[in-house]
Amino acid sequence: MLRDITLGQYYQTKSYIHDLDPRVKLGGTVLYIISLFCFKNYLGYLIAALFLAIVVKLSHVPFRFMVKGMKAILMLLMITVMFNLFLTPGTPVVTLWKLTITAEGVRMALTMMARLTLLVIGSSLMTLTTTPNNLTDGMEKMMSPLKVIKVPVHEVAMMMSIALRFIPILMEETDKIMKAQTARGADFEHGNLLARAKALVPLLVPLFISAFRRANDLAMAMEARCYRGGEGRTKMKPLIYKKKDFLAYAGLVVYMVVSIVVGRLSLG
């Protein structure tokens, strides 16, 4: 049941990609996605796919984990392809009953498919190789210039990491509460929408009470350990760029330049 949902699909192993600074991976993913929308010809996608293949290889994450991410968006992908295939005006190639497939439609559908696939694999690679915690740290550091305009960057990051720590605990708790109420004859699975919404009350009340109690306890425990906001705090694991991070940035720049230049060539 709920236990099966795992949040953040981190894949534990040692690799060059795992070791990179989260900022490199965050920035890299964003740039990679931007590049996907710049291409005008298939060569760009070819280079993007090649680049991704190299990164996947370096990450030591089995390819089937990427495919898992694809499964989730399979429906979306199908619909997008269908729409583009049948609804793009242009030179007709085949006509099936009332639907016409055009040459432009085929090209468009292929482009969309390539874009979506690469986008999903690329971003799931980031979550597969970066712990949620590390990701939060990376975001905090990257956003820190925003502190000047009074954006509570540290607080948001702290909230995110606490949420990540407590989500599995609360999920387990939800499971237990559901069982306890089921044992009292509660029915979460049958009935119409209204009945089901009403059935959630015995689940949500204990869950909220517990969550508030935990929040209260945690706040006390944090204060007892001298937590007083981000001011004057040091870091146990500060983010410091190492040589391999600069190397990765260099690789990224090379990719961006090459792929966009080649990808925007107008071929015949």
Binding site: R3, D4, I177, T182, R184, G185, D187, V205, P206, I209
Partner: protein
């Protein structure tokens, strides 16, 4: 109402790489009206086992017969099973949700389709059985003490008129006095109603005094299944799997080792005191 477990196996996350065998070929017969203790440390499978008895978990392999009927039959009514086999979980906080104690206890019978009058009678009866003072009936369940919450949680299940009552760690987090109060209330319940009662615990001290039979769970299988004094004879093996026998057992064994001829099967303080005095007299030492 008898319950028979026939070669029950349960595997957590059976289709995942993290699969773990939580129950390993468990065969048990629980006859009508027995007071049973299931003992094991955290992760021994004891909680998993009792969740099978009311169909909250479904065995990966094996069968469970309640009153002779296989509960895994297609047309078996699980809701009815849950009214017959009542399970009270460890933390009352996981089930209390209504605005007052009385309404909360009504939740179970209401779900079973009793009309309003019957429901209220059942709730009232259940609250009386757990010995909660009337002044608390219309208070919020969240403002009660730990021991009182526990009573309300038990009443919430009792109101469904179960024939079997399972209590999962009913004393966790209570202070010594609260612990004793709950356990003696359970004993009273059993003496008055002749229900089958299953007490799940990691503490031998809790159950030794009360139960007719002890099942010791370890790594998902039944390690011992016998009357308390037979089980405690294995106190050294129990120690090895992280369960202690009642302290009295250790004392009696220590005394026997020192050459005092005492009966080492004794588990309660009173019996032990009498036995030691007798043994001292028998061995010719002066007692007063």
């Amino acid at each position: 109402m008898s319950i028979i477990l026939d070669h029950v196996n349960y595997i957590y996350d059976s289709n995942q790489p993290t699969a773990k065998k939580a129950l390993d070929d468990v065969c048990l017969t629980i006859p009508d009206g027995q007071f049973l203790g299931i003992i094991g440390h955290t992760g021994s499978g004891k909680s998993t086992l009792v969740q099978h008895l009311n169909g909250l978990l479904k065995a990966t392999e094996g069968h469970i017969y309640v009153d002779g009927e296989d509960i895994y039959d297609k047309d078996y009514d699980l809701k009815k099973l849950r009214s017959k086999v009542g399970l009270v979980f460890q933390y009352p906080e996981h089930q209390l949700f209504e605005i007052d104690v009385f309404t909360d206890v009504c939740f179970g019978p209401k779900n079973l389709g009793y009309d309003r009058k019957e429901t209220e009678l059942l709730a009232f009866d259940a609250l009386q059985k757990v010995g909660l003072d009337k002044e608390y009936y219309y208070q919020s369940p969240f403002e009660l003490s730990g021991g009182q919450k526990r009573r309300v949680a038990i009443a919430g299940v009792l109101a469904m008129k179960p024939k079997v009552l399972i209590l999962d760690e009913p004393t966790a987090g209570l202070d010594p006095k609260g612990r004793e109060e709950i356990l003696s209330q359970v004993k009273k319940l059993r003496d008055e109603s002749n229900m089958t009662i299953i007490l799940v615990s990691h503490s031998m001290d809790d159950v030794a005094e009360y139960v007719d039979r002890i099942i010791v769970m370890n790594k998902g299988h039944v390690m011992y299944d016998d009357v308390p004094k037979e089980v405690f004879r294995h106190y050294e093996e129990l120690e090895q799997i992280g369960l202690a026998a009642p302290q009295v057992t250790y004392i009696m064994h220590a005394l026997a080792k020192e050459g005092l001829p005492v009966d080492t099967d004794i588990t309660t303080i009173d019996e032990a005191a009498d036995e030691i005095v007798n043994a001292l007299k028998r061995s010719g030492r002066k007692v007063n």
